[in-house]
Amino acid sequence: MAGVGSACLAIALLTALYAAAASVFGARAGRREWVTSGRRAIYCVATLCIVAFGLLEAAFLRSDFSYALVAEGSSTDTPTFYKVTALWATQDGSLLLWATLLSLFASTVLFLTRRSLRDIAPYATAVLGCVAAFFLLLMVGWENPFDTLATPPLEGAGLNPLLRHPAMMIHPPMLYTGYVGFSIPFAFAIGALVAGRTGADWIRATRRFALIAWTFLGTGIMLGALWSYTELGWGGYWAWDPVENASLMPWLVGTAFLHSIMVQEKRGMLKIWNVSLICATFTLALLGTFLVRSGILSSIHAFGASTIGVQFLIFIGLVIALSAGLIIARLPQLRSEAKLDSLLSREAFFLLNNLVLVGLCLVIMWGTFFPLISEAITGTQASVGPPWFNRLVTPLALVLVLLTGIGPVLAWRRFTPAALWRVLWPPVSAAALALVLLLAFTNAADSPASLAMFCLVAFVLVVVGMELARGTKARRTMTGESWPRSLARLTGRNRRRYGGYLAHAGIAVLFLGVAASSAFLEQRDVRLKPGDTFEVDGYRVTYREATAKLGGDSAGTGAPISFGAVLDVRKHGKHFVMRPSRNYYSSGDASLGTISRFFEGEATSEVDVRWGLKRDLWLAVRPDIGSLEKPIQEADRKFADSPGDVQALIVAALAERYRRDPPPAAFRAIASPLVMWIWIGGAIVVLGALVAAWPSPEARLRRVRSLYSARLGRELSRA
């Protein structure tokens, strides 16, 4: 079926190009049938991509090693869940995922707009067709996922052990859905510029897509952080790694876009800024994919080889040049319809929040690309580390959280200082109270930045609570409903507003976790033999015994060998047991000995975390298998040509030897306060975004009806 898959991609490429050409011709010549044909071409691209995706998934599931990609990224002993997800762990597979998601998103938006935006939609179709054609061209020309091997191996190389983690498997589709989702508002923005329709129509048509993209990208970033925390064995969730940064940058600019489009919708302002932001977001999304797949910057997350880097750079260059050219050409039509009435207004604060978000993005971009910049100037690659990022990002993050609190209380157009103080004194008092309590009862003063963040979090949470209480009270006064009913109706009828506030509260909670866990964690690195004890943050940890398992590792990754430890942990009279381990995967290197290849492949940490609302206790172990070196070498000599079942017996005997007489093992223990609140905050943000994105037909109908009533009144009075 590889031939069918390749044919699907080739026809999809031609169809995507046709979609672009037919749509533009139809729009220019005023021939609607060509526009319809172009739109249908995008549906066909989606269908062809889905067929290709299904064929490749089937090949992974049946471990068909005649496909080079399956042989490279899977094996017969890879668990089924990871076989399904191994497709996008490979470069070619991830390109197919990109193209499939893009064509699906494009088909959805073009179907929804088939009877509207007739000036803009054909050009948007052309843009989406071109983007899809680029990814299909990469596959057809350079990275065909359907390449086959003349002599298929009996066994595949298997999925990279580091990727055998549920979060890591869901993380790429989430990120890609985010990246792809931003291509929809980008395409319609370009369509609006080409058509000269620079009003807010394109924003209204695609706002929900931008919000969904933002939510998926944010969820992908959170899952990546969770993977880093629980899989990589260093104990942190964010390392300012280039690939992490590459996903954060479009999310930050996308956040700015989601805020600033409200100003254009309400006041007809910031038109240039909005099209620039969405063009930048899409470009950064392409850059994110490029960084993961090109390997130009060393990263723990970069899993691709650099075979399509140049093509990506050319495409990114084209996107920037065409977007900038169009914006410049349309400058007269992009003039604001209104002026900023006051610096004390919601739109002014949205602008400020935009500047901070874009500032954050620029700082992160500079730090991320510094190695390339330094190499270009000095000839040697130097990089900036987490302290550099923390020093610059922390003050901007503090300002951002402050704005997150002030924004919701301000009115559009203008607000008086007296009115501002009237609404702000409760949250300011809450922040002050938090400051006093933290200084009196905790050591928060040891980290002034964290202390400031805690106070600002209190400020934001009180603002959100107040806004909800005020709205509910007003509704209760008007309708006489009960408090819970009023609250439910209020949020249900104003989902965009209250979903946004919920997301603000989530961001504040997330920053609470970040500030506490980064400044007040306690870490111990120790080397212990069974029976030894150490303390970390009041936890008394005793290494009870070593463990050794063959197959069936606790995380279900399919690792053949797993060495670990059982530790008794006691604190304040409570006792619990933790079981960190380290998985060892076989090496495919034929030059290694028959037995030693079982121990010489990749090894991954399977950390054990005792999750808690107040603090996490995180434990990782690195067993010393050096003591097995001699017996392994001896077994290599004695059992060089032994059959598989004998090899398994030898490995089992070696594992048992380690379990009975383990040498001292290295342990890392980290007690981090409030880490759990990072994940809870992230979940609240996602919930808020879902509330804001959820269709509210009732509210829309009310709004539409009132606008039509006004139009009816105007037209009747004119006659």
Binding site: V4, E33, S696
Partner: protein, 99 residues
């Protein structure tokens, strides 16, 4: 061989799907033009009804309560016609198209 065969079959199927709107050229436009004409006529008729009801009210033929009820119903019907007109003309429905 498999590749070439698949290529031909897929090209034919996709070609057929894409050429369908081109072959039906004119049919859809004609249908839309007819609908537009009908809706425009319906709109004018509805506006006339609204004004007539208003005149009847001013002349005392309709009581306040009756006029309010009739006017409300007529305006609802007029709004529905305006909405259909926008849909056929391909404008974004006023107030956004968040569907």
């Amino acid at each position: 061989m498999e590749y070439a065969l698949a290529l031909v079959v897929l090209a034919v199927v996709v070609g057929a799907v894409l050429s369908l709107p081109l072959r039906r050229r004119g049919e859809e436009e004609l249908r839309e033009e007819t609908m537009l004409a009908e809706l425009s006529a319906a709109k004018e008729a509805k506006y006339r009804e609204i004004r007539d009801a208003e005149l009847d009210h001013q002349m005392g033929k309709l009581s306040d309560a009756d006029w309010r009820s009739v006017d409300r119903d007529l305006r609802s019907e007029a709004i529905e016609i305006l909405r259909q007109l926008d849909r056929v003309e391909g404008h974004v429905p006023e107030g956004g198209m968040d569907r």
